[in-house]
Amino acid sequence: MPKPLSLHVPEPAVRPGGVPDFSGVHIAPAGAVDRPPVDVDPGEIRDMAFSVIRVLNREGEAVGPWAGSLSDEQLIEGLRHMLLLRALDARMVIAQRQGKTSFYIQHLGEEAVSTAFRKVLEKGDMNFATYRQAGLLIADDYPLETMINQIYANSEDPLKGRQLPTLYSSREQGFFTLSGNLATQFPQAVGWAMASAIKGETNIAAGWIGDGSTAESDFHAALVFASTFRAPVVLNVVNNQWAISTFQGIARGGVGTFAARGLGYGIPSLRVDGNDYLAVHAVGLWAAKRARQNLGPTLIEYVTYRAGAHSTSDDPSAYRPKEESAAWPLGDPVIRLKAHLITRGVWSEDRHIQLEAEMRDTVITAQKAAEANGTMHSANRPSARDMFEGVYAEMPPHLRRQRQETGV
């Protein structure tokens, strides 16, 4: 008699009440991974999809072949961006509790990924972000007040109250209108890049997706188009270990890594320490160069950790130990960059505290200015008229009739 079959259902190493255990997370020492030329044969770097590129070591030094892509000033600016994003998040989470907005998504622990990546892009490049890459806007000096206007859905909301808070849009900042539907924008990034190639332009595109969302068919559709047409695109997978309450093993399956998904499509696929500002920048730059030199797509997996709740609607203590975040082996991106700058001799605890306070004040000033334009439930918010506009370039008669019916 053959043995009866049984179903395998993966589980994370620990649940609430357990002791955090990241022994399954294998982390290469900083500096250990080679830096190949950008025109390397993808077949030769397949092992990079299973390692982790890191620059900052435990002592806060930048080591190895991926170090050196940024100056002191650029690094201090990077720290400023991360702190600004962190300060904005902290204030907006409170604002949500105060009823000034319906919803907010924070980035705690993942600030390095989007802020550092923004610095490898040029004017005219386009990001197809998820809701967890507001750092792309912050690092491109998008006005905070405009962001908060959108979050508050007030009279100055550039999206007229139509979109969920944090689902920004800014062509000027190279930030494509954000969708709430996961993964849909990954192929769109490839298409944008293909258009750039068809038109003979020089700009590139970047797609963004979370670990959980790589399970969607659209992720795979993006990879096959990018591979076949050698689209000038950087395909970014942010593996923050969690998809709401679902651990990354459910989307990843088997062994392997998210980066390894690219190998089957013949796409150079790299893994990088997502909490290492320097490594994120260096790897992003490498991938962007490949795209600009018409060498085609690169897949990058950022290994990081979602230290906060999924959104203001979520309470992670229901499905993972509270202490897990502190036990995360790659640490905190802000603390690590700060330590590096101190090691470099260009930073101090005092200056750090000053900068934190300055960022908090910057956010508070912007918040006050935005509040003067109203918040979620105040009277000066986008009108019913705004609701009817922009569905089409020209309002068709049936919609005009409906608008008249509402008397606006």
Binding site: V9, E11, S102, A153, G180, A183, E216, A243, T246, L399
Partner: protein, 332 residues
């Protein structure tokens, strides 16, 4: 209502080992609305588990399981996210029986939270029922209270064909009649909030008259049933409010009997107006009750725009709009 839905799955899983429950975040956590809370612990990881974020995968695998003797009851986290599964639902699940002449069948339930009222914006508020009622081979159910939710869900799980089970999320924690500025109430004191223990069913394809009246018939389902009742109350018009409960197959007898009695009819739904299920209902009433009608059939629905975020209450067809339609229909 969320407890009633959980209870429905619990009863079905307890009575039938072939019932499995899965979807995004439904396992250990118990779902973002907690509809499956405790089911994994009670029935084990192979009966209730987290799915990868792939709606096409969730429905596609459920079809395979259903064809292979299981009764999957899967969750799509929000109806707004069912589109990647639309191919599997409409081209596959709906037609497995027909194209194999019964050689293979597809007894499965796809649950999805629908509708607005929670400031969820365009991707947490949609009501896509008409995208399913337009497809031959699907059944479409929309409960509006805990008693019906449990009974209909058990009936849906026991049904031999695929059932789309749409749960108005604004009703999860209490009745909601569209008076958003009034205090929130729970199901505790509501007559339909009482849910018997154990197994019972509410048969599919049977509408229910929620309020008898002689002036005008209101056809509604989901949240709009409560809105329609409030509108009748607010206007003092003696409306007969019918909760369709199942949209497909629809209960034509209950609809026509009522409209023939009242001679007037309005149809209310939260989904966008154009090509909505209300169009089907209006056409049915015109076909079957034309000579009894004293006024044109009116539709009150969401506007033909994406569901906005900040303008939620401008969009939502609340009691004021339904009341105005009642008044106009009476004056016609």
């Amino acid at each position: 209502m969320i407890q009633a839905i959980r209870d429905g799955m619990d009863v079905a899983m307890g009575e039938d080992d072939t019932v499995v429950v899965y979807g995004e975040d439904v396992g250990y956590f118990g779902g973002v609305f907690r509809a499956t809370q405790g089911l994994q612990e009670k029935y084990g990881r192979d009966r209730c588990f987290d799915a990868p974020i792939s709606e096409s995968g969730i429905v596609g695998t459920a079809i395979g399981m259903a064809a292979n003797g299981m009764r999957p009851c899967v969750e799509i986290q929000f109806a707004d996210y069912m589109y990647p599964a639309y191919d599997q639902i409409t081209q596959e699940a709906a037609r497995i029986r027909y194209r194999s002449n019964g050689d293979f069948t597809c007894p499965m339930v796809i649950r999805m939270p629908t509708g607005g009222g929670i400031f969820g914006g365009q991707t947490h508020s949609q009501s896509p029922e008409a995208l399913f009622t337009h497809v031959a081979g699907l059944k479409v159910v929309v409960p509006c209270n805990p008693y019906d939710a449990k009974g209909l869900l058990i009936a849906a799980i026991e049904d031999p064909d695929p059932v789309i089970f749409l749960e108005p999320k604004r009703l999860y924690n209490g009745p909601f009649d569209g008076h958003y500025d009034r205090p929130v109430t729970g199901w505790g004191k509501h007559p339909d909030g009482e849910v018997p223990e154990g197994h019972y069913t509410v048969p599919l394809a049977q509408a229910k008259i929620k309020r008898e009246g002689i002036d005008v018939t209101v056809l509604a389902y989901g949240t709009m049933v409560h809105v329609a009742l409030a509108a009748a109350e607010d206007t003092g018009i003696d409306a007969e409010v019918i909760d369709l409960r199942t949209l497909l197959p629809y209960d034509l007898d209950t609809i026509t009997a009522s409209v023939r009695k009242t001679g007037r009819c309005i149809v209310v739904h939260e989904a966008t107006l154009t090509s909505g299920f209300g169009a089907e209902l209006a056409a049915l009433v015109a076909e079957h009750c034309f000579y009894h009608l004293e006024a044109p059939v009116r539709r009150v629905a969401g506007w033909d725009t994406p569901y906005p975020h900040a303008q939620e209450w401008d969009y939502f067809p609340g009691p004021a709009r339904v009341g105005a339609a009642l008044t106009q229909t009476m004056e016609a």
